[in-house]
């Protein structure tokens, strides 16, 4: 079963390559946009730290490393899951989801992963580069333990972030359109480009528990800076397992509301 899904996933990648080679100029433009977007995320950091050396315990280099984590996570989301999440609403409206549900494949997997947005690879690579530069220029000493902890939290964080956005897209089974909701979730997730300690308490709660972008930015960076231990890693893994189970339940529950042919 796992091998079948892996084969299908590889096929989604092949389709994406075929699509992007058809619109080569657009691919290049989107790659340039990815570079511009990364610069625009770093720009406020550069401006902020031209007025002060530290904000809420974060130095410039650490904040730039955090931007790198953020861009990598958003890049991975847009590369693998955002296309599917966006299309779900119109598929439900048009009744096109029928063709997904009758396939001998896990429909939740198919809906989430079917649209690979290849130009976002650029975002992922740039994000990793920015994170590496930020860490190298900071006073952070990366040990094996802190690296493993950081990666474990970051991977869990990416699962959590994608689960939150996909979970939001399943609301499309119950309402007419959710385009605005998708935008809103993206904008809330976008707040993660700054350390959550920059925000008031209520916003920190939202960025940790509701749209858990803190788990791809602030929490892994805290692990890298040596501020968190294995207890945080275990809690994050447990929270991720819980959210994945909830997402599975939410999907099954939502599909029951699907009445086919333009519901």
């Amino acid at each position: 079963m796992l091998r079948t899904h892996l084969r299908i996933w590889v096929h989604f990648w092949r389709l994406s390559v075929a699509r992007e080679t058809h619109y080569r100029a657009n691919f290049l433009t989107l790659a340039v946009v990815a570079i511009l977007e990364t610069f625009m995320t770093i720009l406020p950091m550069l401006l902020i730290f031209s007025f002060t050396s530290a904000v809420s315990g974060w130095s410039r280099a650490e904040s730039i490393a955090l931007v790198g984590f953020f861009r990598t996570a958003i890049g991975v989301h847009e590369l693998l899951a955002s296309g599917g999440a966006y299309r779900l609403s119109s598929d439900i409206q048009n009744g096109d989801l029928d063709l997904v549900l009758i396939r001998p494949v896990n429909a939740q997997f198919y809906v989430a992963c079917r649209f690979v947005t290849l130009p976002q690879m650029v975002n992922v690579l740039i994000g990793m580069l920015v994170a590496a530069i930020g860490v190298a220029r900071s006073d952070v000493t990366v040990g094996l333990t802190s690296f493993v902890q950081t990666m474990a939290i970051f991977i869990c964080g990416m699962i959590l972030l994608n689960a939150a956005i996909l979970g939001g897209s399943y609301i499309a089974f119950r309402v007419t359109t959710i385009d605005g909701l998708n935008w809103m979730l993206q904008d809330v997730a976008d707040m993660g480009r700054y350390p959550i300690s920059f925000y008031p308490g209520a916003i920190r709660f939202v960025l940790t528990a509701i749209v858990p972008v803190a788990f791809v930015t602030t929490v892994p960076m805290d692990a890298l800076r040596g501020f968190t231990g294995w207890d945080t890693v275990l809690l994050t893994v447990a929270f991720t397992c819980l959210v994945v189970m909830l997402l599975r339940w939410w999907w099954n529950n939502s599909v029951r509301h699907y009445a086919s042919a333009g519901s």
Partner: protein, 269 residues
């Protein structure tokens, strides 16, 4: 068509679009939450920088008023039809409009006006809630002259923004896909219009470039007119530059649209 009959068509189209927009009130409310969220990020961040001992060239009062008014200005000025227009061109849906006496541009304008009415009615209560938390630091000018100058700056900003968006949308006459260009414009405009960071917070060496570039006049300039003590010389220079950009962009927009119509095959793509 005479200007009077064009206005009549525009008014009628706006009424029709308004009815359509009102059907999606919840959708617009969610969009507006999104707008408020993206703008309030700047407010929270710069207030935090100030609290952390950052030596900012502006005070807390300016930051609060700037970002709250930015949400209003952005709602009134921003346009979004470039990809939509390109799609209409690609699919050959422009045909029906070419047979009508009014231009399709009128329909785009009507769509903009109607959505602005709905968006303003949803965003103002949200901003009211934020205003309540920061009401002690929110200070709008009381001088009538500033408000009188703010209005033409705002109208100029809207026309500039509308023509820029229409020009990019018109690329659909020649290109299969313009979303990359539209997104590039959006990202660059975010930084240079004062939406991401107030232009007053940029370093001094960038001031000359920031003062003359087009995106300043699509967002920042109306806010500068309203909230900062611009000298009469700076005001005149600002309005002259905005007008010059306006003339240039309107001409480019008109040229692109007319050349595009000549190139349009009407069968879709």
């Amino acid at each position: 068509m005479t200007p009077a009959s064009q206005l009549r068509v525009l008014r009628r189209l706006t009424s029709i679009e308004l009815v359509g927009s009102l059907m999606y009130r919840t959708q617009f409310a969610v969009y507006m939450v999104s707008t408020v969220v993206s703008i309030m990020v700047g407010l929270f961040i710069w207030l935090r920088v100030g609290e952390s001992g950052g030596d900012l060239p502006v005070d807390r009062e300016f930051i609060v008023t700037y970002y709250l008014m930015l949400a209003v200005v952005r709602t009134l000025v921003s346009t979004w039809h470039s990809e939509f227009l390109a799609q209409v061109i690609r699919k050959g849906e422009l045909n029906a409009w070419l047979a009508r006496p009014g231009s399709y541009i009128l329909n785009l304008l009507a769509n903009n006006f109607s959505e602005k009415i709905v968006k303003m009615s949803t965003i103002l209560p949200m901003l009211g809630v934020i205003w309540w938390f920061y009401r002690d630091q929110f200070a709008l000018p009381t001088e009538i002259s500033r408000w009188l100058l703010f209005i033409p700056a705002l109208v100029g900003a809207f026309v500039l923004e509308f023509c820029l968006t229409t020009t990019i949308g018109s690329l659909g006459f020649w290109m299969d896909e313009n979303s990359g260009i539209a997104r590039s414009r959006h990202v660059i405009a975010m930084a240079l219009s004062g939406e991401l960071v107030p232009l007053a917070l940029y370093p001094a060496w960038a001031t000359t470039f920031l003062d003359i570039q087009v995106f300043r006049f699509t967002m920042s300039f109306p806010l500068e007119v309203l909230l900062t003590d611009l000298s009469s010389q700076q005001l005149v220079a600002g309005f002259v530059l905005q007008f010059a950009w306006l003339v240039a962009i309107v001409m480019v927009c008109r040229f692109t649209w007319q050349r595009g119509l000549h190139a349009y095959s009407g069968i879709g793509a």
